[in-house]
Symmetry: C2
Subunit: 207 residues, 2 copies
């Protein structure tokens, strides 16, 4: 049997998923943050964890230098670190503590099953591969949770659904978990429009 | 804009995801449990939430009668309620609070990305549809998180991978989050064997 946790006494980075909105930190996440000697993360991640931070919190922008941080650093990642988060920088000996992702919060609100759902990220990359993946998975009968890109969001997905002749409900999910949370529902003919750039798009096929 | 939360003053059921193991309850989950006048759930779910329960906790076995419970009941669901959990019984006015699923814990330990991952449930149903889905998604290049069935687990998946000529790493993930957590790694030629019936199987394709 292989070990997937850092050995005792060995210093390793801890990446904590703080959830996508307020109140989503887990007990083990809170424990790690309270014990930390230094906490690093994006501004929003630090805000979400603020009430539990007892040491200095430093905003980081250059995630490529994460390996230069002290070996026992606690890194905060919004959502779940393994879902388009900072978990990708974690090595074999580092610890990742899961958090509630935008996809989970979107499904909790709309009561959509997570098991037939396929996550696709267009965010931060050329959207053509994401578009190809979207079409393939829609044809496979899957529901989609898309992290959109400026030029590939609810309007473009609605157009694709119409071209494929697929009937579906579309939901734009913004500010999940925050007081200003906004979920708008629409159809391929009348797609919902997000009011902010950062949102999640849920596509639920009619069966 | 549509509302996806229960209206103020309206009594509605709250389904709380307690996570797959100890220490995974979120702040909002804990708040809901502490405020509850009655808490219902499976034995393991109640154990995971025990230290926060201040009212009577009742074990339920017949989930089909959930609608007969008091309107302001708090229902505990292991993992995430929308991931093969009790969220399927939640109506439009009910509230679902997300929790950490077995898939997230498995990915945190093995550092596998959640975004290229496809969840498939063979558990509690005839495994033929799950098998067909597995083959399709493997051919699509996706990694898989399978909730296995007695006759469809790591050995059967290893055989399918060999037939398809797909190179992959297989991980059986048991008792995630518990002191007796066990993650075993193997290959299609030498698949890991779980020691318990309830486990998650992670298939990570080599690229």
């Amino acid at each position: 049997m292989l070990k997937y946790k850092a050995g005792k006494g060995e210093k390793a980075m801890i990446v904590v998923g703080v959830g996508v909105g307020p109140g989503m930190l887990t007990e083990e996440g809170i424990r790690a943050i309270k014990k930390a000697s230094a906490v690093y993360g994006a501004k929003r991640a630090i805000e979400l964890a603020q009430e539990h931070i007892t040491c200095e919190a430093k905003t980081i922008k250059d995630y490529k230098s994460l390996h230069l941080l002290p070996a026992d650093a606690v890194i905060l990642s919004t959502g779940d670190p393994m879902f388009s988060g900072l978990g990708k920088f974690a090595g074999e000996n580092d610890t990742v503590i899961p958090g509630i992702s935008s996809m989970q919060a979107a499904c909790a609100r709309t009561k959509v099953n997570l098991t037939n759902l396929c996550a696709i990220t267009a965010h931060g990359r050329d959207f053509e591969p994401a578009k190809a993946e979207l079409i393939q998975e829609l044809r496979n009968g899957r529901n989609i949770f898309l992290l959109p890109e400026e030029n590939f969001g609810s309007l473009e997905v609605a157009k694709i659904l119409k071209e494929l002749g697929i009937e579906a409900e579309l939901y734009t999910c913004e500010n999940l978990g925050y007081p200003e949370e906004r979920i708008a529902k629409g159809s391929p003919d009348n797609p919902p429009i997000a009011e902010t750039i950062l949102y999640g798009l849920l596509v639920v096929q009619k069966r």
